[in-house]
């Protein structure tokens, strides 16, 4: 007896998609190119950090905040002492004060000639007396340091040091204004992260069917299983690959943070640990973030897969990637623009439009505590994914596989794009 007879006559849509997803996922994961894919986003971070560190060092060396003192030795000392007294109050707003060795004991020292001869490394040089100080330097530097130097000189003239009263601190954890403002910050950061990840990862889907078309494997797939199962399988495979990528990058980021959180905070000015808690709480927010990433990926991916499937070569895919990136940006801008307009018609539009919905809803999770809206939005987005996959596979069958009558939409354009690609008669 033929064993095939004992099997069910066909694979379910889920089983068929699983066969494709498993093959694609493993093929990508086990390829050498995947290593470069993983390392790709880490290079800019590494290079950026290195460049930042070097740049900072260079800037520290090249941009002097030192003001040279070229007054009498007593007045120089008085200036330095006054500067030291003011540092606890004004800190970085004050220049570092250094005696100009060349001026010591030289009554004819000409600060202007010294600066114009490009000697020393001073932002400006202070001459004259405490009562009539003169600051010599370029216009920008003189304007910058004129006030602080005058303040120090004023203090240096005083017989008694100024007593600064201690200001008592009474800190409140939040206020309505602060909470709203803070959560907007969380929403913006989350939205930006979601956008960066989808932009980085969803583009991969564009070229996903090119291999099958180039190698003629598409015929075997199309003969064996429905095309929407092929699309679904490919989409979920790439989503899985993306999660692997995010996990690796997340671990790398965590490791970098563990080692140099202080340095990162100091150089970037951004401390994620101090990011305000979102309205739904961190655990749920992270869970929603992952879910909305999956939805954003599937929605954009289904669209990209369809667009990419119409391309015949890698070159065509590359040509398509620019408008696709522009489209992603527009979707992101729409969602980002509505963050500060909760409840507005525009925010509703961003939530209802499937492609921007995950971005808008993630921002909402940061700012509003209601959960039912997320259940509704996720159901809507899932429906949109299904519709896009179905529509994409239908279009692929009609335009690329040349099956059935062509739909009115895109007929002319895709017909021109694909003319001569499929063998019509044989």
């Amino acid at each position: 007896m033929n064993p095939a007879e004992t099997l069910r006559p066909r694979l379910s849509a889920f089983e068929a998609a699983w066969v494709i997803a498993r093959r694609d996922f493993l093929a990508v994961l086990l390829s050498r190119a995947f290593l470069f894919f993983l390392l790709g986003p880490l290079f800019p971070v590494f290079v950026g950090g290195l460049a930042g560190a070097i740049g900072g060092e260079v800037q520290r060396e090249s941009v002097s905040v030192e003001v040279g003192l070229a007054m009498s030795p007593q007045e120089n000392a008085a200036m330095r002492a006054a500067g030291q007294r003011l540092i606890p109050q004004l800190g970085g707003a004050l220049p570092a004060l250094r005696d100009v060795p060349e001026a010591a004991g030289d009554p004819d020292f000409d600060a202007r000639a010294f600066m114009e001869a490009r000697r020393g490394n001073y932002a400006a040089i202070l001459t004259g007396t405490l009562a009539r100080p003169e600051l010599v330097g370029t216009e920008g530097q003189v304007r910058r340091w004129q006030g602080p130097v005058g303040l120090i000189a004023g203090h240096a003239q005083s017989a008694e040091p100024t007593a600064f009263p201690e200001v008592a601190q009474a800190i409140v954890t939040t206020s309505a204004a602060a909470e709203r403002s803070s959560r907007i910050q969380t929403a913006q950061v989350a939205q930006m992260l979601l956008f960066l990840l989808t932009m980085l990862l969803a583009g991969m889907v564009l070229s996903n069917l090119v291999e099958e078309k180039a190698n003629k494997i598409i015929e075997i797939l199309a003969a064996a299983i429905p095309m929407d199962a092929v699309f679904t399988g490919k989409l979920f495979a790439m989503l899985g690959v993306s999660f692997v990528g995010i996990a690796v990058w997340g671990l790398a980021g965590f490791a970098m943070w563990s080692v140099g959180s202080d340095a990162i905070t100091a150089t970037s000015g951004f401390d994620p640990a101090r990011l305000p808690a979102p309205a739904v709480g961190w655990p749920l927010f992270i869970a929603l973030g992952i879910t909305y990433f999956a939805m954003a990926y599937l929605l954009l991916g289904a669209l990209f897969l369809t667009i990419g499937a119409m391309a015949n070569t890698v070159r065509e895919v590359q040509t398509l990637s620019m408008p696709v990136t522009m489209m992603q940006l527009m979707v992101f801008f729409l969602a980002a623009y509505t963050i500060k307009q909760p409840g507005s018609g525009l925010e509703m539009a961003a939530i209802v439009f499937p492609l921007s919905s995950p971005f808008a809803m993630l921002a909402r999770a940061a700012m509003e505590p209601q959960l039912w809206t997320h259940a509704l939005a996720l159901a809507w987005q899932a429906l949109a994914v299904l519709a896009l996959v179905k529509g994409g596979s239908l279009l692929f069958r009609k335009r690329v596989m040349k099956s059935g009558g062509a739909g009115r939409v895109c007929r002319g354009w895709f017909a021109r794009r694909n003319s001569g690609t499929a063998e019509p008669a044989e």
Partner: protein, 334 residues
């Protein structure tokens, strides 16, 4: 004098006939299939019936519509008009596990190992991956490719890769195997092996339908053929019936070149060097022989030959299609 299509007996319309006296259920049944691409009719009203367990050939020159017909039968594309049924199902995907398909343009993932490629093709048809790998090893060893099981497709020769794909087509043990130009690109030895494989499948009760532009393969293997030219099927039925449509050919050699006896030859007679060739008259050769002898034609030799599938193809599809078929074969040989 040339044999013209008009002189042929039998129908030359849609030609929808099954293999005669066949009570077997149909594996494939297609009626009135029509498919157009950009306003051009690639397939124009094709009727085909293939009984279960048969080896069936779709015979025609390149561009005749063979691949399009097979793609419609398999559900890769839908017809604009007409119906197709595979094992009684309108949607071939519903019985995907019973079908194996080898497309004309071979395609495999280059980075996949041979064993995985076969197992993957089985998995597409519902065969569990583990079982697919087990059978892949078995099949590869049986066909002398056991050593290549763990080699990537890109590392295999073209012939080996073609064999791997064929094994992938068969790994799930389908009941219907559809092969599109399976002999194309194979050397004579591998063509012979493939013929044996097809016969073995038929012996196991598997229905095999293949397209070809090489008449000899169809003649040697098939019990039924569909002759396709210009998107139409002027004949579909048994190979025997196709040959029977052409009367046996009489081949005559005479000593005399001219004479009154020439009027005794049928009007369809054509001269081929020293020979005269014409269809066997319905009255037989005896009256003709008498007139030739009386006319002192000087008969040197006379033979009666049964028509081959090639003659049938020429007669059914026309000389233009036959010439194209021969050109296709010559091109492939080159």
């Amino acid at each position: 004098m040339a044999v013209s299509e008009q002189n042929l007996p039998g129908n030359r319309g849609t030609g929808f006939t099954t293999i005669p006296d066949d009570a077997r259920p149909l594996a494939i049944e297609a009626k009135g299939l029509v498919k157009s691409f950009d306003g051009t009719r690639a397939v124009d009203g094709v009727d085909i019936s293939v009984p279960e367990g048969a080896i069936y050939g779709v015979l025609g020159p390149n561009g005749a519509g063979k691949t399009t017909t097979l793609r419609m039968l398999l559900g890769i594309i839908d017809p604009d008009e007409g119906v197709r049924r595979v094992f009684g199902h309108d949607r071939p995907h519903d019985i995907g596990r019973l079908i194996g398909y080898l497309p004309e343009e071979r395609g495999l993932y280059p980075a996949m190992k041979a064993i995985d490629a076969i197992a993957f093709m089985g998995a597409l048809r519902g065969l569990p991956l583990k079982e697919g790998r087990r059978r892949a090893v078995e099949l590869l060893e049986r066909h002398g490719l056991g050593h290549a099981a763990d080699r990537q497709i890109r590392q295999l020769s073209k012939g080996m890769a073609q064999t791997v794909q064929l094994l992938g087509t068969l790994v799930h043990r389908p009941k219907l195997v559809v092969l599109d130009e399976p002999f194309s690109g194979l050397d004579a030895i591998n063509q012979g092996k493939l013929e044996m494989m097809i016969r073995a499948l038929a012996d196991e009760g598997v229905t095999v339908i293949f397209s070809t532009h090489v008449i000899h393969h169809a003649e040697r293997l098939c019990e039924g053929v569909a002759i396709i030219a210009g998107g139409k099927v002027p004949y579909a039925g048994s190979v025997e019936s196709a040959r029977d449509r052409i009367p046996a050919q009489v081949r005559l050699e005479t000593r005399a070149r001219e004479g009154a006896w020439l009027s005794a030859l049928p009007p369809e007679t054509r001269r081929n060097g020293d020979f005269f060739q014409f269809p066997l008259p319905e009255t037989g050769v005896e009256p003709l022989l008498r007139r030739l002898i009386e006319g002192e034609a000087g008969i040197l030799s006379l033979s009666i030959e049964r028509a081959g599938l090639h003659d049938a193809f020429v007669a059914i599809a026309g000389e233009a299609a036959a010439r194209q078929l021969e050109a296709d074969q010559a091109e492939e040989r080159a």
